[in-house]
Amino acid sequence: MTLSILLQIVWTGLAISSYAVLFAMAFSLILKVVKIWNFAQAGFMGLVFYTLYVCLNILAWPMWAGVLLSFVVTGLAAIAFFRFGIETLRARHSSSLTFFILTLVVSQFMSYFFAMCFGTEPLTITKNIMSPVMLVGGIVVSHWDLQALGLTVLTVLFLFWVMHKTHVGQFMSAVADHPGLARLYGIDVNRIYLYTIALACLLMTVGMYLFGLKVAMLPNTPLQMMLLAVIATLLGGMGQVFGAAAAAVLLSLLQSLSVFVIPSEWQSLLIYAFLFMTILFFPEGFSWTALKSWFAWRRA
């Protein structure tokens, strides 16, 4: 292993982590504010991709129009899901297991729906997946890498601004802490849920746009990608959206760098190992407080 190989793997791992970060943040945001484990996110990720695919390859629209329509279509579908699915279950005081089953069923249904409409052929947003490259200090940097990192940083900064510098963000924190109390203070909780869903859809749209430019997609691909989003959410700390982002970067880099110590075909195994350890030792999500408590328990 040379320094240039290490730097190349780190660079490529960072670039690849871009869409993982966005998906993890979307998942974590919904969990934080709406308080559901939204496995239906996989279905909505698929909806973004296939809408974009139709716009570009069948309707021959420009990219910006396709991305805009994907965001709008996915947003409307997500809002309809929450309005008619989640809120119905909430009104019935359904158990958390029922919510879990609903979100899984929706994502599976959408996966089969896409397979019916588009077949199971691997598809990319653009016909050609090659991206121009340049050498920067001996490291191969592709245009896609720069676009992925740039868009991800901008999206994360936008989300940070919304959550920490705007009233909407403050209200989202209030609703996340205690929706009943937030309602008493005059916050329109349902409207905050809508804003949260819109932000999550924005994150998914940017993520799937980047993913679709680089990798061929099958109808069940988003379900596989959800695993990293879930683990990053747990590792980053429950309710810690930016913690989930950091965890997604860490997991992607670890997966990429692991090739130096384990055979490359075992890289995916790492994700399952992290999931196992997280559920075993941090079932409520990782936090420094939980870590300190665990060490205290070990000492006792």
Partner: protein, 388 residues
């Protein structure tokens, strides 16, 4: 109250009504339509449906053409189709259904993992299992009732490995492979044959089936400085591997097996696909005039050429093999059992098939066919060599 003298009449009338109702039942209709049945289990859904669906269409075309010419000894050939999703468990369910419910003495299937999973059922129930399209060399050792009608990986991958060293003069090679049955076995065959021919394998890297980033494995391959890189992958990952390879500045020539013989590879890679070498185990339009008609038929009915053209050629021919087996047992006045169909297969031995030409089934459960090598030149697959 019914008059006593009318009771026998009423009983007789009821019996007559019942009998006429039965004569319209599906059971009797099935008996009236006497067909020669065989099973076909293929992935019609799931990740492999891209190929499976087209292969089924090709088999259906074969059945239709046979029936248009009078069927098998005047009886129509009927294919019973079940979806496996290329999943071994679903394959087992399909095989059990063929055996226990449909009472079929023969069925066809594909995808190495499925072929292996259902082999015990075929052997235990003495039902003839024909593998069409799967290429794991293990298929030749799965038991008395399992035969392949498609050359196994040790035919085309072995020929490619030898060609790379002996004809192309490559002294060292790298192998990248997907971590599943097809990938592992094919990669091992390439490695063994390349080394046997006198070459050296300088890198041997697997990648996970769900991976989207191959940088680590590719950099290891790059560091080994091979003269040729063989990729034993699937159509879902092969273009990504080559794309990332070229983007990392690896300009080494690439080879793959028949899974790479797909126009989507060229479409997705553009100029990066130039020089790619792939194998085909079925004759092209230049070698067999029937193939041109087959392709035109697809263009007319489906507005495209089939995915995995060589595989669809084999699937088109597979009902013809079934038809020949049934003709043999009818000629020898034997009942249609798996045992007798197996006898027929070994007795006939050589089949002259419309799309793939001569096929010889040997007692060691293998078949031998020429290997056609193609390469991408100016954006299209062109013939490179034929290895007999």
């Amino acid at each position: 109250m019914i008059h006593p003298q009318r009771r026998p009449f009423l009983a007789l009338a009821s019996a007559a009504l019942t009998l006429s109702a039965l004569s319209w039942s599906p059971l009797s209709m099935a008996q009236a339509t006497d067909t020669i049945k065989f099973g076909l289990s293929m992935p019609l859904s799931g990740t492999q449906a891209l190929f499976g669906a087209d292969q089924v269409k090709a088999a259906q075309m074969g059945v239709a053409d046979i029936n248009a010419k009078g069927g098998v000894n005047g009886k129509p050939l009927e294919m019973i189709l079940i979806d496996t999703q290329a999943d071994p468990q679903l394959g087992i369910n399909a095989a059990k259904r063929f055996v226990s419910v449909d009472k079929l003495p023969i069925f066809l299937t594909s995808w190495s993992a499925v072929v292996k999973a259902v082999a015990p059922i075929a052997n235990r129930e003495k039902v003839l299992e024909l593998s069409v399209g799967a290429n794991s060399p293990e298929i030749a050792t799965l038991g008395d009732y399992v035969y392949t009608t498609f050359p196994l990986a040790d035919v085309d991958v072995a020929a490619l490995a030898q060609y790379s060293h002996t004809t192309m003069g490559k002294q060292n090679a790298a192998v990248m492979y997907i971590n599943n049955d097809s990938g592992v076995e094919g990669a091992n065959i390439y490695k063994t044959m390349f080394e046997k021919a006198g070459g050296k394998i300088v890198a041997f890297e697997a990648y996970d089936a769900k991976a989207t980033d191959f940088t680590g494995a590719l950099l290891k391959v790059k560091a080994a400085n091979p003269e040729i890189i063989h990729i034993q992958g699937l159509i879902t990952d092969l273009p990504q591997v080559i794309a990332q390879m070229r983007q990392l500045g690896i300009t080494t020539r690439v080879s793959s097996y028949s899974a790479g013989y797909n126009p989507k590879v060229i479409e997705q890679l553009g100029a990066a696909a130039e020089g790619l070498i792939v194998t085909s185990l079925a004759p092209s339009v230049n070698d067999n005039p029937n193939v041109a008609g087959f392709i035109n038929r697809w263009k007319t009915t489906e507005n495209r050429i089939p995915n995995g053209l060589p595989y669809t050629q084999y699937l088109y021919d597979s009902p013809y093999i079934v038809a020949e087996l049934y003709k043999w047992i009818a000629k020898n006045k034997l009942p249609a059992t798996g045992e007798n169909l197996r006898k027929a297969l070994l007795a006939i031995k050589t089949f002259d098939l419309p799309m793939t030409g001569m096929l010889e089934v040997s007692a060691d459960h293998r078949v031998k066919k020429p290997v056609y090598l193609l390469t991408v030149d100016k954006g299209a697959f062109v013939p490179l060599a034929t290895i007999k």
